[in-house]
Symmetry: C2
Subunit: 415 residues, 2 copies
């Protein structure tokens, strides 16, 4: 019954269009046609849009030219104009096609956020005004990426935040579905640029999508998937340039035939740091990771070797590649308290992950991974696991080889 | 005493910068330096800015591409972003120089307007929040050209509206002066491109400025001068690219040695229509001008000839040149009710005006005009007068000749 709502009957749908989908007036018209089609089919539609692609970059560039250490409140005032332009233009394009539409800025909805300018979090969306307009047959076109802080100043949600705007709006409107139109036509078992036999997934669970998103499959912003999972909003990822069905991101119960592994993700944004000759005693990990956390550096995979002599050990962990230099600097500065012998680092590493909710109930998933990599002669440097994911760190040069081997090993190749 | 306030002592000043003054980041920094200088000198400063030059045109172009018969509410949402970008960037540039500053959008001040989107009128400015910030030493940077309608949607004031924003803000703040920085360095006795000996006026009255503004001397928006006159706000027009003193627009009492004539204005945006063979009876004027008013066409100079035979007469009037075709069409369509013989029209005409509050108390001003034009062999087609202005319609080819002759005849030439 739940699914019937969005198969045949009239539904309330939020459609979100990213920057490349609204890059110029002709593409905005294309988006308007798509919205009109849904409205003509009897669905109630609310639309969320990003800035025209390139516009936000230009605005950010101006802000940086005006001030090196910029005030994030003024950054938000400037950068939020990109979405404001698009909502107005799309509302006009819809009206031109005979669809009743009006634009809404973040503060007009209102989309209430906290005061963390530049990376604000949505706290509440008051959907009453929008619902009243939709009841009159009007399509609201809402500016993504922006909101209003408690003190009445404009906020932005951070890059990619329009996905989050769309899902939060869908939750507030109790929408039947949130369609995220983008420049890819769905979520694949892995990157099709690496594996020609990658398959588009018809469905994927929130948990899997979350792992995919945080592992560098840049289809959806992580925060938007978290919100979708929290409020159980069915999300569809699809292309604004084709009519092919996309990928549905849904609850685990909604997927009848669950594969053990849904996808293989990889990330090259990794660097490995090894501290050699660290005293093997309680409190060492805190002494190492405290200064890194204080410097806002995100440590990911961590391995501490067994000490051979009971006195000194080695500690290996990964950080985002762009933070490598800063990380070693922070550690050198903390050396007096840390007491390690020396630092080794390697920025030519990649993280390969196997993801699937099915692995919760299936043994042997890790073994398949290790076997497949061994067969290709790929050395595993670090391993980390979660309930639905196994990640390994390998030499970056083997990335494509590893991804292809694993894709085959788990039976994901398209026939 | 009143003048001492803005000669030596600390003052509250509104500074307004137009599009060419904020055309790029370097110019925005230049504006910031000027604001800082006033703040450093101990003045309280509030700033109003326009969009970076060219930006509004691009936004308007997009709107027109999206929809031919565009919804003025969406036009306003899109076009108001230009000023939003500039206020953020200028606030940042000021902060970078150590000046405490923050941006204000129209709805944040708030600047309350009516609902006439695209050409809204300011109804009230609540200056309490701004004054509180200024009391803390913060320079508010306010977006010109925009406001908020009673229903909470963004409005714009029409092209050039930032002047009006600045004067209205100065009135609300009870400012000692409103400085309008532009790309000319003041108000001249006439167009210096035509008369090399034109002089910059040190002072001009509101009434004269109003005539100048409405006659095509595009220094200040007419509505801003009306507001300044109504609230007795001293306005200074000066260049943002030099440090030369500008022109003060003030009350008549403030000008001790009043010239009889302050300036010569001209307008080429004129077209003449003559209706020949119109019945000479009551109600004819209403029958002619009613349809034109209904078509939103602004009729200016009107002359009705004396009827020779008591039955038929001719009627001559002027309309903006761009409305000529539409005007003759409207009149032809109304011909059955109007009963004229035929229409003659001429778009090669110009209006030359002599302006000065001194003419109220001096006779012979018109005679000097007619004499000077006659001497150059320039035929006067239509004459109209007001308390402080005499305008004549002449063949467009004689524009420069007429302006130069009158500038000399009234003793306005620089030595």
């Amino acid at each position: 019954m739940a699914r019937a709502q969005w198969v045949g009957l009239m539904a309330l749908i939020v459609q979100k269009f990213g920057g490349t989908s609204v890059a110029d007036i002709e593409r905005i018209r294309n988006v308007a046609r798509r919205v009109k089609r849904a409205a003509d089919a009897g669905d109630q539609v609310a639309v969320v849009v990003s800035a025209m692609s390139g516009v936000t970059d230009q605005l950010v560039k101006w802000v940086r030219e005006a001030s090196l250490q910029y005030d994030a409140r003024e950054y938000d005032a400037v950068v939020s104009t990109g979405e404001q332009v698009t909502v107005g233009l799309l509302a006009l394009a819809l009206q031109e096609m005979g669809v009743k539409a009006r634009s809404y800025l973040g503060w007009q909805v209102p989309v209430r956020t906290d005061s963390a300018h530049g990376k604000a979090r949505i706290e509440a969306i008051d959907a009453a005004a929008l619902l009243a307009e939709m009841g009159k047959g009007i399509v609201p076109v809402v500016a993504g990426f922006q909101g209003i802080a408690p003190d009445g100043r404009v906020t932005t949600l951070g890059r990619g935040g329009s996905d989050t705007s769309a899902v939060a709006l869908a939750a507030a409107l109790k929408a039947n579905r949130c369609d995220i139109y983008t420049d890819v036509d769905g979520v694949y078992t892995t990157d099709p640029r690496i594996v020609a036999k990658a398959r588009k997934l018809a469905k994927i669970t929130y948990e899997e999508m979350l792992e995919m998103a945080s592992l560098g499959a840049k289809v959806l912003q992580t925060r938007s998937v978290e919100l979708a999972m929290k409020y159980r909003v069915p999300v569809q990822v699809l292309s604004s340039f084709s009519d092919a069905p996309g990928t549905l991101v849904v609850d685990e119960d909604e997927i009848v035939e669950q594969e053990i592994v849904s996808g293989i993700a990889y990330s090259r944004d990794e660097a490995k740091i090894t501290l050699l000759g660290v005293p093997d005693r309680p409190g060492v990990a805190a002494a190492v990771f405290g200064p890194l956390a204080a410097a806002n550096i995100n440590v990911d995979m961590i391995v501490q070797n067994v000490s051979h002599d009971g006195k000194l050990t080695d500690m290996t962990f990964t950080v985002p590649r762009g933070d490598l230099q800063r990380s070693t600097k922070v550690l050198e500065e903390a050396k007096s308290g840390l007491k390690f012998e020396r630092i080794a680092s390697d920025s030519s590493v990649a993280k390969i992950s196997v993801i699937g909710v099915g692995m919760r109930s299936h043994a042997g998933v890790a073994n398949t991974m290790f076997g497949a990599l061994a067969e290709k002669g790929i050395n595993i440097q670090v391993i980390s696991t979660s309930e639905i994911k196994i990640s390994v760190l390998i030499a970056e040069d083997y990335t494509e080889l590893a991804v292809r081997a694993l894709h085959s090993a788990y039976g994901l190749d398209r026939d």
